[in-house]
Structure formats: structure tokens, C-alpha cells
């Protein structure tokens, strides 16, 4: 059904203006539902829109940004964001890749069953399962501590101690996202023709060498793309830290996006919230440009 072949390069480079009609919905969405809020966000970040200046706010230049760069929280929040994004990415992406490789083995029975079971974390609405996890990780009566009690480990304050809180949110995020990466990588790995693996086997390659000499080189841009966008998605993943720890204890699990939300909606400082969001975007933008320069991952788009 899905016959795959080398895409024939469309040499016909003539610009087709009628095609703009085809993508009109996309253009409208881009203009009104994306660019407009972004511009408005940029504009808010340059004003003093807050509860004291709710209707009569005005332009204050970069005052919000200079406040942020002078505040002691910024460093902690950015460090948290990095720990959270990098920590999540380095466990979930390789785990997904590993499971995809294991499931791609020939003559392995029960692939279908395993894959169905892996659907569970992905298929249940995340905001439900995050709250389930928050109950499972509760210090008193949480099932995780109960189970640890069985093997004689005393209860751990998973969500309320600064030592474990970040670990816990990364762990829950891992549970939430590894199936997605398993599926993505399964699709990528399956696109490698079997003959290449057989050729590698005939050449005497072991599993490890097949991985490093065949699979990875063929998929390097896919891996880069999935990893980098996984990183970005995690960076902007609001629900996990917000629902599990609310950024606490202290600000030990506060990431840029939850902090932006806190500023905007808890302190009613909408301008400062917008400024935090802009800072987050700028960091990501630089990150994408730099990584794309080295990995050329964007080239899988065209």
C-alpha cells in the first residue's frame, strides 16, 4: 500500500501563485493565530501591563527585561529548564530508540502485544495521568512509597524535596513520552531496507557495529531532528511541572514557561510573564539555528 521510493525531485521550479489559495488556511492561521499573538506578546513585554496598570498601561522599553536580568531567580530558572529539558531528552529519546531497535529484530514474537501495551501512556490524556502520578508519588499513602516500603526502603518525599522533585518530574515525563519516541523511531528504523542489515550481518558486524555503522549513519538526521524537537517540546512542556510540583519546592522545579505563567497569572504581572516567554523563545531560536547549522536536521523537511 505505502510504496516507498526515492521522491522524484520536482524540477519544475516555476512559482505557482494559485497554490497560495491551497495553503490559504495555513497562511491565515499563521497570520492571525500565531503571528498576532506573538507580536502582541512582544508588545506586552515592552509595557507595564500589570494589575496596577491594568487599563492604562504604557510603553516602558526594556524595563521588564532589565528587571529580569537583574533578578536572582533567572539563573536558577534557566538552569532548571536546562536540567529538565536535557535530563528528559537524554532518557526518553535513547529509550525510545532502544525499544524501537529491540522490537525491530527479526523473529521476535509478540511485537504487536508490546506495542499495544506501550500505547497506554501515550493514549491516556496526559493531564489525567500526571495527576495519577502525583497521587502515586505522594509521600503518605502513595503507592510508590508503599511499594518501596515492601523492600525496606523508607518513604521518599518525591515531589516535595528539592533533591527528588526534579528527578520525579523527569521520571513522570519519561513515562509519558517514551512511547511516542518508540513509535517515531520504529517508523524510522523500519524505513531501512532489510538488505542493509543482512549485508552487515554477512560482513560480520555484531549488533553494536550494525548500530553504529549502519543504523545510526543512515538515520543521523532523523535522530537529530527527533532529539532536537523532543528537547524543544520538553522545554515548553508546561503541564508536567505545573501539575506535579507547581514549580516547588521553592523554585527548584520552576522552568521558564511555568515561571512565565506564575508571573502573569499569580502576580498579575502580564508584561513580565510575556518577557519571560520571549526570553525562552529567543534561547530556543538560537539553539535551533546553531544545532541546525551542525546537524542539517531541517533538511528532512524538504
Amino acid at each position: 500500500m505505502t510504496e516507498r521510493a526515492m521522491p522524484i525531485k520536482n524540477n519544475n521550479r516555476r512559482i505557482d501563485f494559485k497554490s497560495l489559495l491551497w495553503i490559504l488556511p495555513v497562511l491565515i492561521v499563521l497570520a492571525f493565530l500565531d503571528f498576532y499573538p506573538i507580536l502582541e506578546g512582544i508588545y506586552f513585554s515592552l509595557t507595564d501591563f500589570n494589575q496596577f496598570h491594568f487599563f492604562n498601561y504604557g510603553f516602558v522599553g526594556f524595563a521588564n527585561y532589565s528587571y529580569i536580568f537583574g533578578s536572582p531567580e533567572l539563573r536558577t530558572v534557566i538552569a532548571n529548564t536546562l536540567v529538565w529539558s536535557v535530563g528528559s531528552t537524554v532518557v526518553m529519546v535513547p529509550a525510545g530508540f532502544m525499544l524501537a531497535l529491540i522490537m525491530n529484530q527479526k523473529n521476535l514474537r509478540g511485537k504487536y502485544i508490546y506495542r499495544s501495551l506501550y500505547l497506554f501512556p501515550w493514549a491516556f490524556p496526559a493531564f489525567l495521568t500526571i495527576l495519577v502520578w502525583s497521587n502515586m508519588l505522594a509521600y503518605n499513602g502513595g503507592v510508590v512509597n508503599d511499594l518501596l516500603g515492601l523492600v525496606g526502603i523508607s518513604s521518599i518525599a518525591w515531589l516535595t524535596s528539592p533533591t527528588y522533585a526534579m528527578f520525579s518530574i523527569i521520571f513522570v515525563n519519561f513515562w509519558l513520552s517514551f512511547p511516542y519516541y518508540t513509535f517515531v523511531y520504529t517508523s524510522a528504523v523500519q524505513s531501512i531496507p532489510n538488505e542493509l542489515y543482512e549485508a552487515a550481518e554477512m560482513d560480520g558486524y555484531g549488533s553494536l557495529r550494525t548500530l553504529t555503522r549502519v543504523t545510526l549513519p543512515l538515520l543521523k538526521r532523523q535522530v537529530a531532528f527527533i532529539t532536537i524537537f523532543g528537547f524543544i517540546f520538553t522545554w515548553n512542556n508546561f503541564y508536567v511541572p505545573f501539575l506535579l510540583t507547581g514549580g516547588g519546592p521553592g523554585i527548584s522545579t520552576q522552568i521558564l514557561i511555568t515561571y512565565s505563567y506564575l508571573e502573569a497569572f499569580s502576580y498579575s504581572n502580564y508584561a513580565l510573564g510575556a518577557a519571560y516567554a520571549i526570553i525562552s523563545i529567543l534561547i530556543l531560536l538560537v539553539f535551533v539555528i546553531v544545532t541546525n547549522h551542525y546537524t542539517k536536521m531541517m533538511s528532512i523537511l524538504y
Binding site: L30, S116, P125, F127, S191
Partner: protein, 304 residues
């Protein structure tokens, strides 16, 4: 013994023994590898399923509070009851919430996928001006956090008098679906040979006709996949619906769940679990039925 065989014979014999050993060795390695693979897969499967099992079993228990539960409650037992489910279904307008959710999700999935089929085909097959820039933009938009969008969205939709209406939610939901699905469909269609739609053009269809009548059926896996994802977003959304909907007659399941679990004087844990199960099951069935499309729907093939 030692002198029974000549040296040459000895070597030969040793080789025979070695070959036998080696064969066994490789056989064992293969078995070990298989066992290890299954072990890893089973561990991850347990990890994946346990929280869901936990929520299902809790929803069947009548424990009011978390600290009253014990490990014994994790196993099926005689105290099981469906009271939590009956509470949700009969004491709250559950079916109205379900209806609202279905109206929103089905409409926005349909609109979003229809529009993204058109634009995905165009992005793949037509010479859209500044195509590459548009593609970059679509992706770079994923860098923007939603917290920044909430207030501007509210202002805009308030201006158009779209708050507290179905349309006011269908528009942003389908817009969100359009962005992601366009990119998915574009990527998938890129992997299909152009000769199919060319053949259709030779058979008498116009370019547009060929794209729609030939490529759309061929891109069914990705369209189904995009539809599943497009369904998932509005179905589970709380942030936007919570902002835009203030009239109880328009509550969605997600808001209703918030209402049930937060609204009762203290959060009834079993009720919450039961609601989670009720809400999760449709999505899970959807994912399960379309499972094969979830793998083939991603089009990150190596040729790209």
C-alpha cells in the same frame, strides 16, 4: 590416551569439538539475546501499564481518601463497586459534557484535517512561493509557549464575540491541527512517487483532481494519524476551554472533570479515578484501532 592419536588427528579432533562448541555457543547467544530483549520489553510494558492499572483499580474501589488505601487494594477484591462511575454518570450532566466534547472534537478534527490535506498536498506537490520559509515558520512556531498566547487569544476572540461558543473553540483547535497535520501530510506525500498523480492526469484528471482522488487515498495512513492527533488535542484540552467557556451548558469533559474532582468539597479520589478511566478509554480505543497507522503515519523515512 595421549598417544592414541597422532598429532594431526588430535588437531582434527579438537577442531571438531570446537565446531560443536561454537555452534552451541552461538545458539546460546541467540537465545540469551532473545531472553534479554523480552526482559527489557516486558519491564517497559509493566512500567507503561502500571499507572493505568492503578487508576482503573482505584476507580473500582470505594476508598474515599488516598491515605486510607493500602497495597492490598491494588489487587482485585470483594470491596469493588461501580459507585464512582454511577456517581459521575447519574449525578452530573456527564452526557451533556460528552456531547459538547464530541461536537468540538469531531468538528475541529474534520475541519483541521480537511484543510491540512489541501495545504499538505500543496506544500508537497505545488510550487508554493517561499515554500521553504513557510516550512521553517511552521516548525519554528512550535517554539512558542502557549502561556504567551492565552491572553492575546482571549482578546481576539472576545473582539469577534466568539467566547462561550462552539465556534470560538473549534477555530483555534482546528488551527492547531492544521499546522501540525500540514507538516505531517506534506512529509508523507513527499515520499510517494509523483507518477501516480501523473498517471491520473494522463487518465483525464486535472492536477487538483489527481492530487485529491489519487494521493488522498494513498496517504490514508498519515491522514488517519493526523486525525487521531487532531482529535486528541481538543479532547484533553483544559487550558483554552477553561478560558473561553464560562457557561455550564458548554462544559467539556475536561472542564467537567475539573468540576467534579475540585467541586465536591474535597477531592474524592475514586471519583477522580473513575472519571479518568471514562475519559481515557475512548482515546485508548482510538489509538488501539489505528495502531498500525501510528507507525506508518510518521514519515521520517531514510530517503528524506
Amino acid at each position: 590416551m595421549e598417544n592414541k592419536y597422532s598429532k594431526k588427528e588430535k588437531v582434527q579432533r579438537r577442531e571438531e569439538v570446537d565446531v560443536f562448541r561454537m555452534n552451541n555457543y552461538y545458539k546460546n547467544i541467540r537465545t540469551l539475546k532473545k531472553i534479554a530483549s523480552h526482559l527489557v520489553l516486558i519491564l517497559f510494558a509493566l512500567f507503561a501499564v502500571f499507572p493505568i492499572y492503578y487508576v482503573v483499580i482505584t476507580s473500582l474501589n470505594s476508598i474515599g481518601s488516598l491515605s486510607a488505601s493500602s497495597l492490598a487494594d491494588l489487587l482485585p477484591n470483594t470491596k469493588m463497586t461501580l459507585v464512582n462511575y454511577s456517581q459521575i454518570i447519574f449525578q452530573h450532566p456527564f452526557f451533556i459534557w460528552l456531547r459538547n466534547t464530541l461536537i468540538l472534537t469531531v468538528a475541529s478534527t474534520f475541519i483541521g484535517v480537511m484543510l491540512s490535506i489541501t495545504s499538505g498536498l500543496a506544500m508537497s506537490r505545488l510550487n508554493v512561493p517561499a515554500k521553504r520559509m513557510l516550512l521553517y515558520m511552521l516548525l519554528i512556531l512550535s517554539l512558542f509557549p502557549f502561556t504567551m498566547m492565552v491572553i492575546p487569544f482571549y482578546f481576539m476572540f472576545s473582539n469577534f464575540h466568539l467566547l462561550n461558543t462552539y465556534l470560538g473553540l473549534i477555530i483555534p483547535y482546528s488551527a492547531g491541527a492544521v499546522i501540525y497535520s500540514t507538516y505531517l501530510i506534506k512529509n508523507y506525500v513527499d515520499g510517494l512517487p509523483t507518477s501516480y498523480e501523473e498517471a491520473a492526469q494522463m487518465d483525464g484528471l486535472s492536477k487538483a483532481g489527481a492530487l485529491f482522488r489519487i494521493l488522498v487515498p494513498m496517504a490514508r495512513p498519515v491522514i488517519v494519524f493526523a486525525a487521531v492527533l487532531a482529535f486528541m488535542g481538543p479532547y484533553t484540552d483544559y487550558a483554552l476551554a477553561g478560558q473561553f467557556i464560562s457557561s455550564p451548558s458548554l462544559y467539556t469533559l475536561a472542564i467537567g472533570m475539573y468540576y467534579v474532582s475540585q467541586g465536591s468539597i474535597t477531592m474524592n479520589y475514586g471519583t477522580y479515578a473513575a472519571f479518568s478511566v471514562l475519559m481515557g478509554i475512548p482515546i485508548f480505543i482510538l489509538f488501539f484501532v489505528f495502531q498500525k497507522y501510528l507507525v506508518s503515519g510518521f514519515s521520517l523515512s531514510m530517503y528524506k
